[in-house]
């Protein structure tokens, strides 16, 4: 059996980002393996440990994405296929290119992050499934392989959960709670450098440009209002005002 995790490299959530000419400047930011994709890597490693077979990483992105690929290989994946593309690409374009790689790899099951920390489209997993004509289960918090043709999964909803049976091959997207991703071990890091990363230029898979062009980017600025109510003179009035502000302005009560 073959298990695939699709990964991307994104800015660390704690990285300090800067705006430069209407675009986010990533040059100084720490870039990491998307944490939602980390669940995907952990899941395919566990599947391989339990059922045998191969754990393969499929990645999309610019040259620096290799750092994220090495992290996944150091965690224990066997090899990687890297679709290299500099510049923007919308999720549908990415999905079509990735689908060509997956059609050739013919995996048992594919996992990827439920959302992407950089563009937050939620679209990549389902779009890959669509391009391949495979079923898709989003936001999974549990997965059990029954045999090579089917699996059960838990899909979390806002106010409950669903258990589903899905025909394989399929694309599943992750949700927090699916597993606890491992840290790469030092011997794992040493082994990772000897593992194969097969590089394919995105153009060879039909990527000619992006269908959604990013015109500008801005960082949300959170201004603190720092309103201070004087409760020393008329405490009852101040309390009423506090309740009104919490209700009408902050909308928390």
């Amino acid at each position: 059996m073959k298990f695939v995790a699709i990964i991307r490299q994104v800015p660390d959530g704690e990285a300090k980002l800067r705006e430069e000419g209407g675009r986010i400047d990533l040059s100084g930011a720490t870039m990491i393996l998307d944490q939602m994709d980390e669940y995907a890597v952990e899941e395919i490693l566990q599947l391989k440990e339990k059922h045998g077979g191969e754990a393969v990483i499929v990645a999309f992105g610019p040259e620096r994405t290799k750092e994220a690929i090495r992290t996944a290989l150091a965690m224990g994946a066997d090899r990687a296929v890297f679709v290299k593309h500099e510049g923007d690409a919308d999720p549908i374009t990415e999905a079509k290119a990735l689908a060509k790689v997956l059609a050739e790899e013919a995996p048992t099951v594919v996992f990827t992050g439920g959302q992407q920390a950089d563009w937050d489209s939620y679209a990549l997993g389902p779009a890959v499934a669509e391009a391949l004509g495979w079923p898709s289960v989003a936001w999974t918090t549990a997965f059990e392989l029954e045999d090579e043709t089917q699996a059960t999964a838990q899909h979390d909803l806002d106010e409950g959960a669903q258990r589903v049976r899905v025909r394989l091959p399929a694309v599943l997207t992750t949700q927090q709670g699916l597993n606890e991703p491992r840290y790469p071990t030092l011997p794992g890091i040493m082994k990772a450098k000897k593992k194969e990363i097969k590089e394919i230029p995105a153009e060879e898979l039909g990527v000619t440009g992006t269908k959604v062009e990013i015109l500008s980017q801005a960082i949300v600025k959170i201004e603190r209002k720092q309103k201070i109510l004087d409760g020393t003179k008329e405490p009852e009035k101040a309390a009423e005002e506090l309740v009104r502000l919490l209700h009408e302005e902050a909308k928390v009560i």
């Binding site: 090495r70 992290t71 790469p184 030092l186 040493m190």
Partner: protein
């Protein structure tokens, strides 16, 4: 910054993520309780962090010295007590076993240390032999099939917790007739003092080692009889890179807290970082830390290249530990009264930093080593 390889960056990032997630939150509690951090060391062992620099053939991860220094810096950033335990077990006993041990000794003693099943300790210092180790009084008496050791060792990191002790003892009358022995925790006649009440590094136990007629068989002599002091000093060259890396981690952690605080705290209607008194202080510390890190990497690269690195290790330790004490003291000053409070962590880094100028050779001894190297 000098460039790092992709693999060295991955080591640094992995250890950073691990240490900030697993060690950082619990460091204040370990400082408070003074408990030896076995649960933390267990996690480090799983990642292969206790045998980083030992080759894979002997149970380690086979990392270069630069990676080892990067990892120690990240561990120290999160918890300096854990970092010194790791620096000692990997930098001293493992390094000495690798360099001077027989294959049989490596199989029996290096493997469990490198896999992190054991912690190792280094016992050179005595109550009356600190900076002058050749004055040590612990004696080894020749008997049939081995040696019998008697004496007291002081200030031994991990004493009472470690499973293996590299003990230097006198085997002849001349001043330097000293031999290194591998002593095991359960050897009859070996006992330990209570952990010393120290200013900092509370979780890294330091205690006396008492040897009362401890029999050590011939196969547990490490290296050559009579060459123990030279073997120990070679070990210290390696250990000093580890302590220097620990000092850089401590300095960086305190600096980061001060830098962030100065960006938040306002006085006289503006951020305190905008006052030259604070801004210049931070600029000076940042420069010192960067310079210290370069000295550490340069010593580690020299070690990786296979040459002598006595001078580079001494320079790195002298400068990095001075930087750690300065950076932590000044970080407290930037935070003002808050810096004096335990909640802000910088007071602990200050307490932890001070000993880096003392152990594995005081700053004065580093200067002595450097001065000698100049005319070598």
């Amino acid at each position: 910054m000098l460039p790092l390889s992709e693999e060295q960056k991955l080591v640094r990032d992995t250890v950073r993520a691990f240490a900030r997630e697993e060690l950082w939150p619990l460091a204040p509690a370990y400082d408070e309780s003074g408990e030896y951090p076995w649960p933390q060391l267990g996690k480090l062992a799983e990642l292969g962090l206790l045998g980083m620099a030992t080759p894979e053939a002997w149970g380690g991860a086979g990392m270069d010295a630069v990676s080892w220094a990067l990892a120690l810096e990240e561990l120290a950033y999160a918890d300096p007590s854990v970092a010194v335990i790791v620096s000692v077990t990997s930098g001293l006993p493992q390094y000495m076993l690798l360099k001077f041990g027989t294959d049989e000794q490596k199989e029996r003693f290096l493997k469990p240390l490198a896999r992190g099943e054991w912690i190792g300790a280094f016992a050179l210092t005595e109550p009356q032999a600190g900076s002058d180790p050749a004055a040590l009084k612990t004696r080894a008496r020749r008997v049939e099939g081995g040696w019998v050791l008697s004496g007291t060792k002081a200030w031994i990191t991990s004493a009472g917790q470690a499973q293996l002790y590299v003990v230097m003892a006198r085997t002849g009358e001349e001043r330097k007739a000293i031999t290194a022995f591998l002593v095991l925790k359960d050897d009859p006649g070996l006992s330990f003092g209570l952990p010393e009440a120290k200013m900092g590094l509370h979780a890294a136990h330091t205690a006396e080692l008492r040897l009362e007629e401890v029999f050590v068989p011939d196969e547990r002599v490490l290296g050559e009889v009579g060459r123990g002091l030279s073997h120990a000093l070679a070990g210290l060259d390696s250990g000093r890179i580890g302590i220097a890396a620990q000092a850089v981690g401590i300095a960086q952690a305190a600096f980061d807290i001060a830098r962030d605080y100065a960006d938040e705290r306002e006085q006289f209607g503006r951020k305190i970082r905008d006052f030259e008194g604070v801004g210049f202080k931070l600029a000076e510390l940042d420069t010192k830390i960067a310079a210290a890190r370069h000295l550490v990497w340069s010593a580690a690269r020299r070690k990786d290249a296979g040459g002598r690195f006595t001078l580079e290790a001494a320079r790195a330790k002298l400068f990095a530990t001075d930087t750690a004490v300065t950076a932590t003291r000044e970080a407290i000053q930037v935070l003002g009264a808050n810096g004096y409070h335990k909640d802000y962590r910088v007071e602990r880094y200050y307490r932890d930093a001070k000993v880096t100028e003392i152990y594995e050779g005081t700053s004065e001894i580093q200067k002595l080593v450097i001065a000698r190297e100049l005319y070598r």
